[in-house]
Symmetry: C2
Subunit: 163 residues, 2 copies
């Protein structure tokens, strides 16, 4: 997924601050550091990866706070939750990337990213048509690699790793 510009990150932070103010919640350094790390990253992360990255950067934060914050960011549509067919939830930035989806191979587990311009508009329409306003969406396509050879190769390698 595309890199997020510094200006965009600033905008998202600003947005987050205003949300917090509205709801009489607090804009703490830890919350901001989670938000920033997600927007600096160009891929999907799980809660633990996020926790580790932040600790490596010297941010003193606990898993509990990471989970709390992710939930908060999700409720305000600043991050998306994704189920990539692994055992746990992944998260990624969502503001300014409303055209983003994942394609997952059910055989080898390969994940590709795709974008579609028409998507956002379509989702918007569906939402309003059913009496909702759209915050974010989560779209995963499950299928199989067309390149059977490379796919089988990846399956083999995954087996090796396990042994």
């Amino acid at each position: 997924m595309k890199k997020t510009s510094a200006e965009t990150i600033a905008k998202v932070e600003c947005l987050f601050k205003s949300y917090m103010k509205e709801e009489k919640l607090r804009c703490t350094q830890k919350r901001l550091s989670v938000l920033r790390e997600i927007y600096r990253s160009n891929t999907h992360l799980d809660a633990d990866e996020l926790f580790v990255r932040l600790r490596e950067q010297g941010v003193g934060i606990s898993r509990a706070t990471v989970y709390h914050t992710l939930d908060l960011l999700f409720r305000y549509n600043l991050v998306t939750k994704i189920d990539l067919g692994h055992k746990h939830t992944h998260y990624e930035k969502s503001w300014g990337v409303a055209d983003h989806l994942h394609i997952i191979c059910l055989k080898c587990g390969k994940v590709s990213e795709a974008t579609s311009e028409d998507l956002a508009g379509m989702m918007e329409k569906l939402c309003t048509g059913h009496g909702y306003s759209l915050g974010s969406f989560s779209l995963q396509l499950f299928g199989e690699c067309l390149d059977k050879e490379a796919c089988a190769q990846r399956v083999k390698e995954a087996h090796k790793e396990k042994a």
Copy 2:
């Protein structure tokens, strides 16, 4: 979601049998009963609901087998996994319903179903464009009810239930 006709269920069973044969796996009664129950149902179920329903029908089955079977059915694109923002995964039939999605209110948790005719074709194109064949897809829209009053009412009721 729409009711599945008896003929369609028969088709799906047949499909499942052929998959099992191809892969030298076994088409057991327990697996069939899970498949049937999902296709008979017109809504999303979680693993435990499925387990309870089957037991009520006198099917002697264990949770372990339910989980195993769901995973199997998912890999062969006969069921879809959905994250409705609750704590655990939901499953629903997917064969013959490739135009189905959920809209979830982040405030009150209300879930609506929607269908879109263009969706399947669009997903198909995206998949092949990225070197995959499409099996199934999972699409959730997260937003907020436009009817703020009814939404607030549901939030209130949910609080009551907890207490």
